[in-house]
Amino acid sequence: MSVDPGADSTPSPVTPIRGDGPKVSGQNFGDRIYRWTITAFALCIPLLLLLIAVEIGSAGWPTFREHGISFLFLSTWDPNSGQYGVLPAIYGTLISSLLAILLATPLALGVAIFLSEFAPAWLRTPVAFLVDLLAAIPSVIYGLWGIFFLIPLLRDHVAPAIKSLPVIGALPIFAGPAYGNSLLAAVLILTIMILPYTSSVAREVLLAVPRSQREAALALGATRWETIRDAVVPYAKSGIVGGVILGLGRAIGETMAVTMLIGNVAQIKASLFAPAYTMAALIANEFSEASGPHLSALMAVGSALFLITIAVNGIARWLVWRVSREGAA
């Protein structure tokens, strides 16, 4: 987890000093203890990950054994009749996170570029602080804000306004009655929640872009916009993608705020106004009263969520690696 694949491909003038490098013959006893301790600490994290995977996987095993992999592609979730199809929840998880990332990334980039390139020094710190503060708000507070502000707004103003538009209002993504609790509400709340993660990382990498990079572009006659577009952002590209991934991970795993706003109905609808469900919400909602096969099914959903998170992270890592290789070429 801690190894950045990008690090291997980036040419570096300094040969990294490695733990298993040339052995010093008369290694000090204290050094050795230190090394073992640190190694043990480092091993804890992958071990923990393995333990979580094994524990959840074995608890969900009865479901996998009985229904096979098919339960990932069925869409009826009915514990009463022993039907456990999680496709709607998988769809809801992926689509809500993806849409949130699509909305949050330009916003976060805008914030980061403004703060690193344009903001006067006296404005930079307070605005950066306020954006970072968004990350510190508990998700249940986001949920409450969503219930009392966002949902009435969507239901009473946004939805009627969109529906009254010609053509756009008739699109399937805006079909059906709008009760407020919907995929759209969850996407909007997720957008706000992941914004600080992406923007903080992006701001830091943009600030780390050397001055010479900007000066060179300006010296060649580039405008400020061209400097940022062609010299600064490409230099920070891999870091920015890393920030987006961090936000994506947060969006996939977010439970409380989403549960409070998404409407919790296991269905696949094209409409943004229709209620939906996510895997995390499904587990949180049903765990306390579940027993027997139902419990095992929830654990299987947990395993699937775990695998999806790993897969999404893997793909994202690969993206970073590709981006950074392009940057180096």
Binding site: W77, N80, E286
Partner: protein, 354 residues
């Protein structure tokens, strides 16, 4: 299951913390948690009152985790707690999996689930029959002025608005009781979604907890949902009069809820295990969406000291404790039933461990 490995240390830790931090109880008893239980959230308000009153009176301290019926069943089956609590009776399959011998269901109070709605133009309580409610929650009735609703509310001008169904999305005893009633009252519901703590709802939005459902109903004109009585009462929600088996439309009052229990329990065989549903029960006044809630304990108590304490507490709860039930929107068990529960408690064996 695997939970045991987590629950045992956590419970033990909890007990150690309680033992260290607790102030000396009255009567010079040593201050520690004497009994631990876990389970249903539905009766938690009354249980927590009982535990605190009982501790003040006798010094016996009871620690209860309001974790949900499923967790209560799991933990008492694994013997990680001294007693469990549930809103829906355990199935035969669940009972067969219990460790440490047979589990008894001991009813404690009668609770009710109410149907609440948001119709600003209507001031008097709405009347709803089981068929009408089932139709609404099945999605076959979609307008408030549907003849199935309008015909039983002849004095009310029903609006032509769309109905928005709101249901619980988290597994809950409240959903179990509500769907148990619909299963009993309506054939289409029985053939379709059926009863359970988790329902595959044909229509509507899911809210988390009583507050999630009530919040959604309050915010949306035309919405209908169900919550437990105490929640609706304490938050001043409008509640519908429900058509019972005798054909009367009754309000969820303590008297009517108790009547539901009296009607069903009077006919029970002597050897009943109390795993009975009292929804849609007989009786002129019986409120049909009512249910017992149970404490689960082993018939053979492994620890005789704890077992005696538990039995003493239950006898106290069913006599003195029940007097507080009404104030917290639960109905006490009818007196003849209490007598029969006492007989059942007498059969608990305390010498299992020795």
């Amino acid at each position: 299951m695997k939970f045991r490995s987590v629950i045992v240390p956590v419970t033990v830790l909890g007990m150690i913390v309680m033992a260290c931090g607790g102030d000396p109880g009255p009567g010079g008893r040593r201050s520690s948690v004497d009994l631990t239980g876990a389970g249903a959230t539905f009766p938690y308000p009354i249980y927590s009152r009982w535990f605190s009153d009982y501790a003040r009176e006798t010094g016996v301290r009871i620690n209860y985790g309001s974790l949900g019926s499923g967790a209560g069943i799991r933990q008492v089956s694994e013997q990680t707690v001294d007693f469990g609590a549930t809103d829906s009776p355990m199935s035969d399959a669940e009972l067969a999996d219990v460790k440490g011998g047979a589990l008894l269901h001991i009813p404690t109070v009668v609770g009710a689930v109410v149907v609440t709605y948001n119709l600003p133009s209507i001031t008097q309580p709405l009347k709803l029959s089981g068929d009408a409610i089932a139709g609404i929650f099945l999605g076959t009735i979609t307008k408030w002025n549907d003849p199935a609703i309008a015909s039983i509310n002849p004095d009310v001008q029903m609006p032509a608005d769309d109905i928005l169904v709101v249901h619980r999305t988290d597994g809950s005893g409240t959903t179990y009781i509500f769907s148990d009633f619909l299963t009993s009252a309506n054939q289409a519901w029985a053939n379709g979604p059926g009863k359970g703590k988790q329902i595959n709802w044909p229509v509507g939005l899911g809210g988390k907890g009583n507050e999630g459902v009530a919040g959604q109903v309050k915010q949306t004109p035309g919405a209908i949902g169900y919550t437990e009585l105490a929640y609706a009462h304490q938050n001043g929600l409008p509640t519908a009069l429900i058509g019972n088996r005798a054909g009367n439309f009754v309000a969820p009052t303590i008297e009517n809820i108790q009547a539901a229990a009296t009607g069903v329990l009077a006919d029970l065989p002597m050897d009943t295990d109390f795993r009975v549903s009292i929804v849609n029960g007989p009786g002129e006044k019986a409120y049909p969406i009512s249910s017992l809630t149970w404490i689960l304990l082993h018939e053979v108590q492994a620890d005789s000291v704890k077992g005696r304490k538990l039995l003493d507490f239950l006898r106290w709860a069913l006599t003195k404790g029940d007097q507080q039930a009404a104030a917290l929107d639960y109905a006490p068990l009818p007196a003849p039933v209490v007598e029969r529960v006492f007989q059942r408690l007498d059969e608990v064996k305390l010498d299992g461990g020795q």
